[in-house]
């Protein structure tokens, strides 16, 4: 996939997260890798389908996910990733990807839609996204590292 095509997703991250209570959202690194990624903690998978298709996987550590959910819930204490926190971070993934669809459409890539998020939580392992090359972008969201893995093709 053309690297320029990831901009709507990056803009969606930068545009959506401040609305959820985060102060700073900065891009830390961009890497191009193969289809297999390692993950641990939390990984959220959202399917995309339309004129571009594939998956977006959003990862963070368990502790990071707790802090993330806490900020989304107005600073409420989150000691463990309970049902409410899981729901909060999946809502975030849903919002970011839905927002990216709108931005794709503004860029002339129309009809892209998303599936509901599926969360994996635990020791982790590997995940294979349905494309040969995955673009991984690490963001610092306040003090939480959030990895956005983009596995899309046209």
């Amino acid at each position: 996939m053309d690297v320029n095509r990831i901009n709507p997703i990056l803009d969606a991250v930068a545009g959506t997260l401040p609305q959820l209570g985060f102060q700073t959202v900065s891009k830390k690194s961009v890497a191009l890798g193969g289809s297999v990624l390692n993950w641990a903690g939390v990984m959220i998978n959202i399917g995309m389908l339309g004129s571009i298709k594939g998956s977006i996987a959003i990862g963070m550590s368990t502790a990071g996910a707790c802090r993330f959910a806490s900020t989304m819930m107005m600073g409420m204490e989150v000691k463990e990733l309970d049902e409410l926190s899981q729901s909060a971070i999946s809502e975030m993934a849903n919002m970011v990807c839905a927002n990216a669809c709108t931005r794709f459409s503004q860029d002339g890539i129309e009809g892209v839609d998303i599936s509901p998020p599926v969360l994996f939580v635990g020791e982790g392992g590997k995940v294979t996204l349905p494309v040969p090359k995955v673009i991984s972008v690490a963001f610092m969201v306040d003090d939480i590292q959030v990895d956005i893995h983009i596995g899309l093709h046209e």
Binding site: G47, K53, V118, G122, E123
Partner: protein, 286 residues
């Protein structure tokens, strides 16, 4: 049954009159009208409608902004956007603003009423999908085990699988359509290796090959099941997104937005677990 109570938001008095007439003819009751964002919330609170029809092109805040504002005020508000524009971009914007329906101007009375009926009784259609999906996924799983692995399976159904624990290899497939959803196919590494060996008629050459066989199997099952559901109800419009495959045992698999069902297949090469669920939305587009 009492009439559906509708509020009309449009800056044009002419359009409001036309819509009100169509609604009244169709047995709805027009309980309030607003011409801009300034009076939107006040009128909404006063008339407490069952749903709102909303023009898109209005001076000041447009219909998308008004919809977002209204849904922030009342997340349960049901908004049908009404506009002369109807393209994919506008529809996507409408969906993302939280509208539950979209009708093109000039409004045809029967189209408007059908959308309203669907918005007001989405439970029946979703109920059908939910019920049919259990039988169809079980049937398609059994068929494809026989077809692709030449073995038989004992199928058991499980209800309400919101949370699940991965056995080793988990294929996740997103579903897009009127009711979006997810399919999760899960099996042990050992079962996946045996399944790959049967399907390839030789041992898999690499872990990647095992993953790709599991993904392909799940993709076929998901694709066929969604096609069968579409044949039962054309307007479901279900399509499957490409599969992602997670590896690692004992991870929790959670689908917070879905009510998941599951079927398990006990085969000669191990237990295959297939769960699936759809999001109960009221997004209807005409």
């Amino acid at each position: 049954m009492s009439a559906i109570r509708v509020m009309v938001v449009d800056d044009s008095p002419f359009s409001r009159t036309l819509l009100a007439e169509a609604l009244t003819q169709g047995g709805c009751e027009v309980v309030g009208e607003a011409e801009s964002i300034e009076t939107l919330i006040q009128v909404y609170d006063e008339c407490k409608p069952d749903l709102v029809t909303m023009d898109i092109a209005m001076p000041g805040a447009d219909g998308f902004e008004c919809t977002k504002t209204l849904r922030l005020h009342d997340p349960a508000a049901k908004v049908i956007l009404v506009s002369s524009m109807k393209d994919e971009e506008t529809e996507a914007d409408a969906r993302h603003a939280g509208a539950v329906g979209y009708v093109q101007k000039p409004v045809e009375e029967d189209v408007l009423l059908r959308v309203i009926q669907n918005v007001m009784s989405p439970d029946k259609m979703f109920g059908n999908l939910d019920a049919w999906s259990c039988d169809i996924f079980a049937e398609v799983l059994a068929q494809n085990i026989t077809r692709m692995t030449k073995s038989t399976a004992k199928i058991t159904e499980q209800a309400d699988l919101r949370k699940n624990i991965s056995q080793g290899i988990t294929v996740v497939i997103g579903i897009i359509g009127r009711y979006p959803g997810s399919i999760v196919f899960d099996l042990t590494q050992e079962a996946a290796e045996k399944m790959a060996e049967i399907m390839l008629r030789r041992p898999a050459k690499s872990p990647a090959e095992v993953v790709s066989v599991a993904a392909e199997f799940a993709n076929v099952v998901g694709g066929v099941a969604c096609s069968m559901l579409n044949r039962k109800e054309k307007s479901f419009g279900l399509r499957v997104a490409p599969p992602s495959v997670f590896q690692g045992a004992t991870n929790e698999i959670i689908s917070p937005m879905l009510h998941m069902h599951g079927v398990e297949a006990d085969t000669d090469f191990g237990r295959l677990s297939l769960s699936f669920g759809f999001k109960k939305g009221t997004v209807l587009w005409m």
